[in-house]
Amino acid sequence: MVGQEVFLEYSIKIGGEAGQGIQTIGDTLARVFSRSGYHVFTHQDYESRIRGGHNFYQIRLSDKPAAASRDRIDILVALDRESILFHERELTDSGIAIYDSSTLNETHEKPQFLDIPFKELAIKSGGDRIMANTVATGAVLGMLGLDTEILFEILKDTLKKKGEDVLKANKKAAIAGHGFVIKNCLQCSFSIIPISKPKMLVGVNEAIGLGAIGSGCKFYSAYPMTPSTGIMLYIAGKAKEYGIIVEQAEDEIAAINMALGASFAGVRSMTGSSGGGFALMVEGLSLAAMTETPIVIALAQRPAPATGFPTRTEQADLLFALHAGHGEFPRVIFAPGTPEQALYLTNKAFDISQKYQIPVFILTDQYLADSQWTVEGIDLERLVYNDYRIRGDELKKLSEYKRHAFTENGISPFAVPGDSRHLVVTDSDEHDEEGHITEDGLIRMKMVNKRLFKKLPFIKGEISSPYLYGNSSPDIVITGWGSTYGVMKETVDALSKNEKIAMLHFSEVYPLSSIDKFDYLNILGRAKMTICVENNATGQFAQLIRAETGYEFHRRINRYDGRPFTLEEFLGELNAHIG
């Protein structure tokens, strides 16, 4: 089973009502662990409300790369009664739950419970009730045997604006929680120390934002919608520093049309939404295609139809993204499974959309959007930037210019309006080479050939092969795309001792990469058992593979309760298939 050779591996869950500060505790602890050199994975589960309800934040830290959440937890920080009610059974044999009996109005006598007066200690430290969170954070560090030095550094950063007094009181509160546990938690048997240099801890929405800013995105227009909003917020936070306009549009229709206007005028543009908002953008997607205006669209999926589960996760918009938009036109769909992939694929999305003047999607989901991972660092050499526009003197020198000129590879010269005397004309109607409305059937066919058939082989050539991880001639292949990366990878790690097993993960899902580069169909064809793993009801990727290649997976594992796959549950289900 999992964890046999693992030297160190803990999971911590912080549960409570919305508004109690579980995210503050979670983010702070996760940062302490990543700065201590541990691999960290976090994920959140919350309801669609601002106050009340039951939410949790789960952190896994390990001295090996961690890519998914575990079902069992070692430390439970219970800020409400539901945390105990729902999650007590998840505690490991040596697991401990901490709570404040004065807040929960109940006492637990079992040895696995430790009553810590979070509130009282906070007030005694010279702070108010809200600092109970800092007491709890200090307490967790005390339970793990980690000192408060790194926590103090983090508090110094996060409380910079609140003044010296607040910082001092918070430090005192952390020490109070830490000290209380050292003295009173006799059953605490955890032990961690800083093990290496700090690691980068980053979420997928931040990674997409960073990738966009780094790729020269100058314009982001969107309408807020969970779970995509984080991308807009991140870019808006950096807008002033890096010269970006972030405009909150009146609706998603305006959002995509504004982005297309800015793109037409010469700047790299992006929009983002979730399924419902993207449904409104669909007309604009088709406009992007007809006018050959580049655009990057982040589509963060959540369970649907309609409003669905607003704060939960699903991978059910793959075929929607693939088929959205009236008419026939090329598009590219990326589905990162980690923050690293999100960063590099966002960069690639901008490059490809500019190069071929097409829409490119970055498909994520709530699970990814609200997760954080440790990353070793960014390989700057992997990032690309090419300006595919004809600008300034180069444009002025041309004797004539046609925005939609027929060319060998289907890519027309792309100028910036106002840069020269050459006019840049485009139309949502079928148009001639200059961009003017036409009714001519022959021109229409030539335009379709140019936009679609001529570009397609080049676009396909840009797509990287899926990632094969594990055994190189496997008996069992688990296949997936996007956010199932982590759980599939850990599954392979867990089973590879006894099984010839591999993961085939697609982060560049459409068009499918050429099998001339890497014949993944051959790998699948030779395996005894192939399983397609998806966070949706109908197996959309399995359908796509069948439609594009004719290959049919032996089995499918689908989860569609709005929750992500977790490792132990997934292993259980997989075992039922492979016996």
Binding site: R35, P198, K199, L201, V202, E206, L210, I213, G214, S215, G216, K218, F219, K238, K240, Y242, G243, I244, I245, A249, E250, I253, A254, A255, N257, M258, A259, L260, G261, A262, F264, A265, G266, S269, E283, L287, T291, V375, G377, I378, L380, L383, V384, Y385, D387, V416, P417, G418, S420, R421, L423, V424, V425, T426, D427, S428, D429, G435, H436, I437
Partner: protein, 287 residues
């Protein structure tokens, strides 16, 4: 200096006698008089007979979707606020399909010059009622007559404190030319609602109908008085005022966006070295 020849575009596909011809003529003359060259501005249009306009002008053109003129124009203007950006739409396009965008473009006060060819009917789809069709007008699609109240775009624009609100008439080209020039020279969002006879589908609001009713707003009228402007804008029926109804000096959206204070977005340089520097700089925050 440009001449009328510089503005010779495609051959119009409008019906003979269409009010759009008068608007096109006034527009070209205005631009020649303003001394603006074709490459110095962009027209964003939607879908409808009016939206074929930029093809007949010769200029940078984004002929987009029905109703979506203003968001595209907003994007163009924010990417390059040194470029003059015009939006040309019809009454169905701008007041029906794109009504929400109009409201918010006015709120933003983005410096886009909007010309609405308002023929009070749907021409391209052959004669259905538009938001500005008069109550009771019978069409094939409204056999009991139009049941909804006629939209008054001028009153709506003034209510939103639009920075330039004017009405013109396609049959009075000299006057219209003046309005177009005023709108272009105004700093801020400008709407010019242009009454335009549809000779094929609108049998009510004809050249004769408008001719009997339109009058030039008095020379001593003060367009900066908002309450008076409401009164003026409410006039419809026996007498219809044309001219500048309301204007103010609200700061524009572009002026208030700090990142384009010195340089338009489109002129801000970028490259591989900048990309790598930025990425490295930002990624430090994640440790």
């Amino acid at each position: 200096m440009p001449t009328l020849d510089d503005y010779k575009g495609q051959i119009p596909a409008w019906c003979p006698g269409c009010g759009n011809f008068g608007i096109l003529k006034a527009f070209k003359e205005a631009f020649v008089e303003l001394g603006i060259e074709p490459h110095e501005f962009t027209i964003v249009s939607g879908i409808g007979q009016s939206s074929k306009f930029p093809h007949y002008v010769r200029c940078n053109t984004f002929n987009g979707l029905h109703g979506r003129t203003l968001p595209v124009a907003t994007g163009v203007r924010l990417a390059n606020h040194e470029m003059l950006v015009l939006a040309v739409a019809g009454d169905g396009d701008c007041y029906g399909e794109g009504g929400n965008h109009l409201m918010h473009a006015i709120r933003r006060n983005i410096s886009v010059k909007l010309f609405v060819h308002d023929n009070q009917i749907y021409g391209l789809t052959k004669g259905q009622a538009s938001p500005t069709s008069m109550e009771g007008m019978v069409t094939k699609n409204q056999p009991f007559g139009v049941l909804s109240e006629q939209l008054n775009p001028m009153v709506m624009a003034i209510a939103l404190d639009c920075s330039f609100v004017a009405r013109g008439y396609a049959g009075d080209q000299e006057h219209l030319k003046g309005l177009i020039k005023e709108a272009v020279n105004h700093k801020g969002f400008s709407i010019v609602d242009i009454l335009q006879p549809c000779v094929t589908f609108n049998n009510v609001n004809t050249y004769a109908w408008y001719g009997q009713r339109v009058y030039h707003i008095e020379s001593d009228y003060n367009p900066e008085d908002r309450m008076k402007a409401f009164q003026k804008a409410l006039e419809w029926g026996e007498r219809i005022p044309i001219g500048i109804i309301y204007k103010n000096n609200r700061p524009t959206f572009e002026e208030r966006v700090p990142v384009i204070k010195d340089t338009p977005l489109v002129s801000q340089s970028f490259g591989l070295n900048i990309l790598r520097a930025i990425t490295e700089e930002i990624s430090r925050e994640f440790y």
